[in-house]
């Protein structure tokens, strides 16, 4: 289940973070990249990517 969800989670969060990044360029006053939500997303993204990468590496080694 986790293996199936992780790529989707990474994809969704990366889209959100890219949106924040682009909007922040045009309106830095709103401080999207310093927002608490952005920091939480970054944390989740980091953990999800690390787990997903680990799974991929282990599978590569096995194959």
């Amino acid at each position: 289940m986790i293996k199936r969800l992780l790529p989707h989670l990474c994809f969704i969060i990366s889209l959100m973070m890219l949106t924040f990044y682009v909007v922040d360029i045009f309106n830095p006053g709103m401080d999207f990249l310093g927002n608490d939500i952005f920091k939480i997303l970054l944390l989740i993204y980091g953990v999800a990517t690390a787990v997903l990468s680990s799974i991929m590496i282990v599978r590569q080694r096995k194959s």
Binding site: K3, H8, F11, I13, M16, P28, G29, D31, N35, I37
Partner: protein, 367 residues
Amino acid sequence: MQNNNQRGRNNFFDDDPYERKRSLSGYSRKPAAKQKKSAGIPVVWVFVIDTAIAALLLFIFSLYYFIIPRDMSQNAVVLPGAVQTQETARATSSAQGVPSQSPEAADTQTAAAPDADSWRVKFADKFTDGAVEKTENSYKSANVSVTIDKVQKDGVTYFVADIYIADIKYFRTAFAKDTFGSGIADFTPDIASQNNAVIAINGDYCGLNKGIVVRNSVQYRDTKHTSDQFVLFNDGTMKAYSPDEFDYDTLKNQGLYQVWTFGPMLLKDGQPMEKFNCTVNPKNPRTAVGYYEPGHYCFVVVDGRQPGYSDGYSTKEMSQLMYSLNCKEAFNLDGGKSSEMAFEGALYNKPFDGGRETSDILYIADE
């Protein structure tokens, strides 16, 4: 084998990418039943659904942070040496947990408060003996003097309000619906009317933007930001600060009356600038506040994005304009559709696309 190939093409998000490879080559280890179960919706739809979920989450984020009204004045603190205005009293009474002023603060107040008569005497020729004199573009009383000039030059229309006040307490700020928070906004003329403003311009949209917020001697937010800051001190002086120069912890004990976070600053040591701490530099409708000397200020609103009437100004042109007005300090506030000037409660300029609601205003009061 053909079936396996078909499944491999359709199910991009299969559990095991190597299984897909094996499946394509016909050497799958998975039972046929399991492979059939994993065959799902087309890959395009998977991306569409994920993108829709991301959009939904972004929408919820916007709702929570920017659209749903949220009162953020719970942590309001009256700063040392507060100038006593109706707004300060109101903010003090409405804010929860506002500490009472310390004796040191009271001393600071005594030391920092300007001589109430000094500006009245210095600018005596600007004020009346008590009667209120009004015209279409001016307002004079015993306390304030406001004269608005409309200038049309080189395809740009702008308004300059020359302002003299007899005491710092007549220079005030106000929030939409009298509340500091996100998702709380109103049009500049409406906020001006509710506060009996003689003249008003939009502020820095502090409810939406980040950074330090001090209004009428009350600190509403103390989080630092990378934008420039503009300060009006209790003694009537104004100064613009870059983020590096702005030491809030020191300044907040030196009689802060108003702090705006937006910018960019438009003058450096009284001289026009070439580079700005801002990414929105092209021609736009703009609002700025200028400082000449304690008790003498100007509000400037430049209309824009309206070919044939007014194109607007770039930050560089705005800097040149404030320099040509002989301002010593000048600061750019929220612009675009927000740029509005209200005189006697009525809209005075012609904002782009009818204007937009804002969270706060700067205004001159006569009571």
